[in-house]
């Protein structure tokens, strides 16, 4: 497995990794801009429009500002862990993109290049594992800050993510029973030609998207950084680019979870109402069209993330736990049971 890797493959994968990581960074950058724009539109104002045409350079200006801010490390913090927190958050956020199938094969330089960094046979579990690690960045940073508000934020984040991971896992199990594979690539291939999983798993998708909101710490589940009661929550003590990393990680998480949702339930790079098999002569263009369709789906999901954020108020903490443990988990269990019964009855 390790010995048979040829040099060309290594170079190909390295290029792909660089493109995906850079791409997700740029997307996250412009997601911060889009967030402010969407917030503006939903609130009857234009949003940032001063930096460049339509405010296009706003994220650059924001990044520049964050870079030039003073780095403050609190005196009584655990310094190594304090620096490690945002780095971990960023790392786990970027790592998830490895198993997402961005598109079909591209034929370049006499090679078939798959637009997926690693097609491992446990893809969805990998996503799940890395997401479950994402909370460490928040917890470590929160604890290392030596600040009560931060600690509260970190504890909230930890218990929230653990609670919602359960429901998320069970809703995925129902999907796995249906698809019979753990590989994201194979799931996408099964959904080609319009057989999207959302048709068969609407309840599972609803549970999944609610849990995705909770795992990304997005409103209405952004209790870890509830400004009204915890100042900044876990990043109260952070400044400069370390704060930027935390905020950035949130947007990358949003991007990646949109990509996961699109490939799990909405056919990945499948173009709706378009028969890919009939247009096989289009070659590389077909893969690019698929990639475009996938990105459009991601953008729609990101918009939904923002739309919900600027509509729904934040949950109270007991409401959050109530929703997670008393509603979503029984619902997910029911969904799993119903899926199992349906598979048994209809024979798939």
């Amino acid at each position: 497995m390790f010995l048979s890797i040829e040099l060309a493959t290594i170079i190909e994968k390295l290029i792909l990794i660089v493109i995906v990581v850079m791409g997700s960074l740029v997307v996250a950058m412009y997601t911060t801009f889009a967030e402010r724009k969407v917030a503006g539109w939903l609130q009857d104002r234009p949003g940032p429009n001063r930096a460049g045409p339509f405010g296009m350079f706003q994220p650059l200006a924001d990044g520049l500002k964050l870079f030039f801010k003073e780095e403050i490390i609190p005196n009584f913090s655990s310094k190594a862990l304090f620096v490690m927190g945002p780095a971990l958050a960023m790392m786990t956020a970027i790592m998830t993109s490895a198993v997402i199938p961005w598109g079909d094969k591209v034929h370049l330089f006499d090679r078939d290049i798959s637009l997926q960094i690693a097609d491992i046979n446990i893809g969805i579990l990998y996503v799940f594992g890395v997401v479950s690690l994402g909370v460490y960045g928040i917890m470590i940073g929160a604890w290392a800050s030596n600040n009560k508000y931060s600690l509260m934020g970190g504890l909230r984040a930890a218990s929230q993510i653990i609670s919602y991971e359960l429901a998320m896992g069970i809703s995925i199990i129902a999907l796995l029973m249906f698809t019979g594979t753990l590989s994201l690539k194979e799931m996408v291939l099964q959904q080609q030609a319009g057989h999207w999983n959302i048709i068969y798993q609407p309840l599972g998708f609803l549970i999944f998207i609610i849990c995705a909101f909770a795992e990304c710490n997005r409103t209405p589940f952004d209790l870890a950084e509830a400004e009204s009661e915890l100042i900044g929550g876990y990043h109260t003590e952070y400044s400069s680019m370390k704060l930027g990393f935390y905020l950035f990680a949130e947007y990358i998480n949003m991007f990646i979870s949109s990509a996961v949702m699109a490939s799990l339930y909405f056919g990945g790079y499948d173009v709706p109402f378009f028969n890919e098999a009939a247009h096989a002569d289009m070659g590389n263009w077909l893969a690019l069209i698929g990639l475009g369709a996938f990105l459009i789906k991601i953008v729609i999901f990101i918009f939904i993330f923002m739309w919900v954020r600027w509509t729904v108020p934040r949950f109270r903490y007991d409401q959050l736990m109530h929703l997670g443990w008393r509603i979503l988990i029984p619902l997910a269990l029911f969904n799993m049971l119903a899926t199992g019964a349906a598979i048994l009855y209809f024979g798939k």
């Binding site: 503006g40 539109w41 939903l42 609130q43 009857d44 104002r45 234009p46 429009n49 739309w307 919900v308 600027w310 509509t311 729904v312």
Partner: protein, 184 residues
């Protein structure tokens, strides 16, 4: 209890039914409302490029008027200072000397005329009190400054540009406000 107005609305405290307890319909309704706002006209005025027009009764910074030949109207009678409820106006009178007829319209003029803009409440009573059409409130507001003493405006700050030498600036400073003294 009898309601005082017909605007009072009673709070509905019925237990929620199943659909309401799911919250999802309410959330979708809310999301629809916010979505609709994407397409509504936004009322933002891009400030430095666009400015909102002042209302016709806007009362801004005071200005000391001149007549058509560029002579100061003010005779330092002190009626404005008496009328001022904030006691923002102080002045010193002086007698016009021979040869100064092109500067001052009447025999007496204000040698010193100060308005403390930190005290002024822009009520416009000075304008109403003035018998000579010498002071009125323009359509500009007091600009910000770093020091308190900068807010005591002296005569040079308040005087309108000379219509003989600088016609354009005079017209601009005159503004669009209806002048009640000129009307009657």
């Amino acid at each position: 209890m009898q309601a005082l107005t017909d605007r009072a609305e009673n709070v509905d405290r019925k237990p929620m039914n199943f659909l309401e307890r799911m919250y999802l319909p309410a959330i979708f309704k809310g999301m629809l409302i916010t979505f609709r706002h994407i397409f509504t006209r936004n009322p933002t005025i891009q400030y430095p490029e666009q400015k909102r027009a002042f209302s016709p009764v806007f009362r801004g910074l005071q200005i000391l008027n001149r007549d058509e030949e560029g002579r100061e109207n003010c005779t330092a009678c002190g009626l404005c200072a008496v009328a001022c409820p904030a006691e923002a106006i102080t002045m010193e009178a002086a007698e016009r000397l021979p040869g100064e007829e092109n500067l001052y319209r009447e025999e007496k003029y204000a040698a010193k005329y100060e308005i403390n803009m930190l005290r002024c409440i822009f009520c416009g009573l000075c304008e109403e009190a003035c018998p000579k059409d010498a002071i009125y409130l323009s359509e500009t507001f007091t600009p910000a400054d770093y020091q308190r003493k900068q807010f005591v405006y002296n005569k040079q700050d308040l005087l309108i540009p000379n219509p003989v030498t600088d016609k354009e600036a005079y017209e601009k400073a005159l503004g669009n406000r209806p002048k009640k003294h000129l009307d009657n």
